[in-house]
Every structure is written in C-alpha cells, then in structure tokens.
C-alpha cells in the first residue's frame, strides 16, 4: 500500500531559526496517525509545512505529486484539509456560511447541499445553530464546526492541530469518536497533532514522537502507548 503523504528531509524555518530538522515520515492511506510531543517541539510547524505556510526545504509528496512551490490554497485544492490551531473559524459569518466556505472550491452544488446535511447529522448542535454567528459558539462547538468545515472539502487527508485544546474531556471524547467514524466511513486519512497523548493514542493507528524538530520515536499507537520509557520521557505520563 503506497503512502498518501511522503515527507523526506524536511527542514522548516521561521526567519533565521530552524524549527524542523530533516523530518522524515509517511502516512499510509486510510490510517489515523498522531504526532505527539511537548510544547514547542515542532508539531504545529510540521502541519504548517505540509500546507506551505512556513519556509521549508526538502520534499513533501501527496499521492505522488510534489507539494513544493505550490501555494497554500492550491495544496488545499489537491484534497488536504487543515484544521488549524485555534480553529480559524470565520467568526463574523454564520455556521452555515462557514460550512459553505469549506466547500467553496467544489463545483457540485447538489453534493455540497447534501454534505451540509451530513455534517448536521454528525454534529447536531451545528444544525441547531446554523444561522448563528460562528463567533458566538462555545469552544467545543467551534471545534466541531472547524472539523465539519474541513470535511466539506471532501478531503483525502485531514490535518488537525490540537483539536482537544481548551475543551472539556467529555467533549474531546465525543469529537475523537466522530473522527474515528469519519476515518472508517469516509476513508479520510487523518494526521492529528496532540498534546493530549493518551486520547490521541486511543484513536490512532500509528504514532510519531517529535522533539525539538526531530522525530525521535515511531511505531504503532499500541507500541508507543505501552512503552513506559517513551511515555515518561516524551509524553509526560
């Protein structure tokens, strides 16, 4: 099974500061992978690098097509949806407009309308608030909206940056259940960056641990979860 996403020798820079050093990893089609590590380790930078939101050298291939040199919006159009840190909600627009924006690059009006209904099935609370200004939603609701918006793209790969941030544990559990469902039913490959390692490892098939811009550990989620040394040194529990 070929990799959907292939990252080789990836370096990323913020100005003169190098944030990622020779990163290398794959994402298998249909898998859920989690990228773990402490604050500032380079997890967010990795996601941003995939979408060309930060200066990089190295090779990133998505389904065989190289991503270097493409603008962020063109990378998205290839089928990569990115739910950024802080959700990036269009706060001044309604919930439904946010969903429509997720599908703005699609041409099939009928399909878009059908997908919006599906999102409302996944996330009933969004249906309740469909005409409300997105900025007035709670943190958890905005997170669900962000995920739904990403799904409106009908992406092949979904990148999530700390979806659990600032959310109550029960809500996070619900969210991760839905993510699992989406992965299985819609065959969406998922890469989720998390500080909350425990929950992420329950959801994921594979895991990578990143520290100061380098991958220091990789394996199946079970291996990583059961490895006490790794947990204590890198994941803090």
């Amino acid at each position: 099974m070929t990799a959907l996403l292939n990252i080789k020798a990836l370096n990323a820079y913020y100005g003169q500061v190098q944030a990622l050093h020779g990163l290398q990893f794959d994402l298998r089609r249909g898998s859920v992978t989690t990228l773990l590590g402490a604050n500032g380790a380079g997890k967010t930078t990795t996601l941003r690098a995939i979408c060309n939101m930060v200066r990089t050298t190295g090779a990133i291939e998505f389904d065989g097509a190289p991503l270097s040199g493409r603008s962020t919006e063109n990378i998205v159009r290839l089928g990569i949806a990115h739910v950024p840190q802080g959700r990036g909600t269009f706060t001044t627009m309604t919930v439904e407009e946010n969903l429509q924006l997720g599908a703005i690059t699609r041409g099939d009006k009928v399909g878009v309308v059908a997908d919006i209904e599906r999102m409302y099935e996944h996330f009933p609370v969004l249906k309740q608030r469909y005409s409300q200004q997105a900025g007035t939603l709670s943190g958890g609701e905005q997170q669900m909206l962000a995920v739904a918006r990403a799904l409106m793209l009908r992406p092949r790969l979904m990148l999530l940056d700390e979806p659990s941030f600032g959310l109550a544990p029960l809500i996070v559990r619900d969210l991760f259940k839905i993510l699992g469902k989406i992965n299985r039913e819609d065959k969406v490959t998922i890469l989720v960056v998390e500080q909350n390692a425990q929950l992420a490892l329950e959801l994921a098939d594979h895991a990578y641990v990143i520290e100061t811009g380098r991958i220091v550990m990789s394996g199946t989620a079970d291996e990583i979860a059961n490895n006490e040394d790794v947990r204590k040194s890198y994941l803090g529990y």
Binding site: T91, T92, Q133, G135, T136
Partner: protein, 338 residues
C-alpha cells in the same frame, strides 16, 4: 449589525525598530556631524538656507517618528502644530518685540500643551480613525488662521513678515549662516533628547503601547498618560521646528501650512524609515529636493515624476533609509572580514 467583530491583535500596525539600531554608530554619527558643521563654510548663502530648512523639516519628521514610530499613533496633522509654532514665534517677534531665541521654547511649550490636549480625545481613536481626526485638524488650521477674529494678530490671509536676526556679538557671518548654526545646535540638542527619551522608561512605555496596547495596559503602563505625552512631545518639537522655519523663511501665511505639508512630513517619515530617528534627515532631504528634481525633469508632469520616484524608492527599500543603512552595515561587515 450589532454583533461584535473579533480581531486577534496580531502584527502591530507599526513595526518595531530594535533599540540598538535606534541611532547610527559612533563613527557614522561623528562623520555626519562633521559634514553638517563644515559644509556651510564652502557653499553659497542660498544653499545654507536650504540646509537650514533641511534641519527644520528633519526636526518635524523626527517629531512624527516619535509619535508614530515610537508610540504607534498615526498623525496626518503635524502641519497644524508646525503652523502654531511658526505663528507663535512670528507673533511674539513682530507684535511683542521678543528676541527670536526666546520665542522658541515658548512655541515649543504652547505646542506641547496643544498636542497634549489634542491627544486626550484622540485616546479613543486609533488607526484610520485617528488618521481622520488628525487630518481634520490639519485641514482646519489654515482656515482658523484666516479667521476674522484673530486677523489683528495673525495678519489674516497675507500673514506676517518675520525679521531675520543678525549674527550676535558682531560675529563675521551672514544671517543665513548664523541661523544655520543656531538651528544645528537646537537640532542636535533635540535629537539627543529624543534618543534618550526613546531609550528611557517613557520610551519603553511608548513602544509597549505601539506593539500591543492591551498587553501594555495589563502590565501597568498608564496608556492614557503616555499616549497623550507622546502627542505633546511630538507637537512640541514640531512647534519648535515651525518657529525655526518661520524665522528662516522670514514670513508666515495660512496657506503655507496646509494638509499638503502634513502629507509631506508623513512621506518623509516613511522614506527615512519609520521609527529610525537618524532617517528623519534623509526623509527631510527627500521632501525638499525630490520635488525640485521632479520639476527639473518635466515641468508639466512634475507631480507625476515625484510619484514615480516615490514608488521606486518604496519598491526598492520598503523600510526606508534604515534598510539602506542596514545593507551598508552588512556590506561593510563583509568587507572587514575579507
């Protein structure tokens, strides 16, 4: 329509200049100083007059740099303070017979108060809104100066003629040369004062406000005090510049202080490098000499040529003279290594 729009305070509208880079290095400063001191000895009186105006506008741009580059407040109204300073000096000299040198601190003080008072209502405004308010001030000033009520003092539309002073103690130099050195001393004093102000606690307060007003306030900076103080100081220095300008040009008239002047000072600040005090004189040189050059190139299209030159400069060095200085420093560093 009553819903709230959220804005994350991301990049500040005015970017910071690192404190180290606030001034030129010692070597460069001394060279520039030497040039400024020696140049008048070799040129004609008219050029000396132009050099005086160079310093005068340099002061005005410096003042704007403190306000915008320092405390992050936009102002398109500096021409109003310049005008008040100019008229204060003129009125004191011609109606009260005061010595020209004494009029300057008074002009500065009056403008400081004026600026401080203007800063009070301006506290609630920022960005585009503050720009509009200062713009209003600048457009109002020439009209206020023409008002019938004050015509006795201001001379109405025709303005006032100002007597140029002779060199004191019978020194053997022309009026222009004396006035130049007098202006130079004041300019250096104000420059040193400004650099120290920006390096002091007050300066840090200004810059904290510029970079993130909410955070500054949360840290205990008295935002209201420092914002109005910045306006006051900036207006005061501009007032002194106005006074010097009035003496150098030998007259004051309402239409000499229109919004066009305010816009020129703004352009001067951008060309010099926002917040970089030494750049003020480069900005001043731009606004004095480039229009002349433009007119030389094409009389009918002089304004357009000015615009084209301005575009070229901001394309090549969007951060103004400071960027040029940094590049030069970089190159010199490379030369030294090899």
């Amino acid at each position: 329509m009553s819903a709230v729009q959220e804005a994350v305070t991301d990049a500040p509208a005015v970017e910071a200049v690192p404190k180290r880079a606030l001034t030129l290095g010692t070597g460069t400063s001394l060279t520039v100083l030497a040039a400024l001191i020696l140049a008048p000895l070799f040129v004609k009186n008219f050029i000396i007059f132009q050099m005086t105006m160079l310093l005068v506008y340099g002061l005005a741009v410096l003042a704007l740099n403190i306000l915008t580059g320092g405390s992050g407040q936009f102002s398109l109204g500096q021409s109003a303070f310049y005008a008040v300073g100019a008229y204060t000096s003129a009125i004191l000299m011609e109606h009260a017979g005061m010595n020209y040198a004494l009029t300057l601190p008074i002009a500065g003080l009056i403008c400081f108060i004026f600026g401080f008072l203007f800063g009070l209502p301006a506290l609630r405004l920022s960005g585009v809104y503050l720009a509009l308010a200062t713009f209003a001030l600048a457009t109002a000033m020439p009209q206020l100066l023409k008002l019938g009520y004050v015509e006795h003092w201001t001379g109405g539309v025709q303005g006032l003629v100002v007597t140029k002073p002779d060199a004191p103690f019978g020194l053997p130099m022309s009026q222009d040369m004396w006035l130049y050195y007098f202006t130079l001393v004041i300019t250096i004093a104000i420059y040193v004062f400004s650099v120290n102000l920006l390096r002091s606690r007050s300066g840090r307060a200004f810059m904290a406000i510029r970079d993130n007003e909410i955070a500054a306030s949360a840290m205990g900076v008295d935002v209201a005090l420092y914002k109005t103080l910045a306006f006051g100081v900036s207006a005061g220095i501009t007032g002194v510049a106005g006074g010097l300008g009035a003496i150098a040009v030998q007259f004051v008239a309402p239409d000499g202080y229109t919004i066009a002047l305010a816009i020129q000072l703004f352009v001067g600040m951008v060309i010099g490098g926002v917040g970089w005090l030494p750049g003020s004189i480069v900005g001043s040189a731009f606004i004095i000499f480039v229009p002349n050059i433009a007119e030389g190139i094409s009389k009918g299209l002089s304004y357009a040529v000015f615009g084209v030159i301005l575009f070229l400069v901001i394309f090549l060095v969007p951060h103004g003279a400071r960027q040029v200085a940094l590049i030069a420093q970089h190159l010199l560093g490379k030369l030294k290594k090899s």
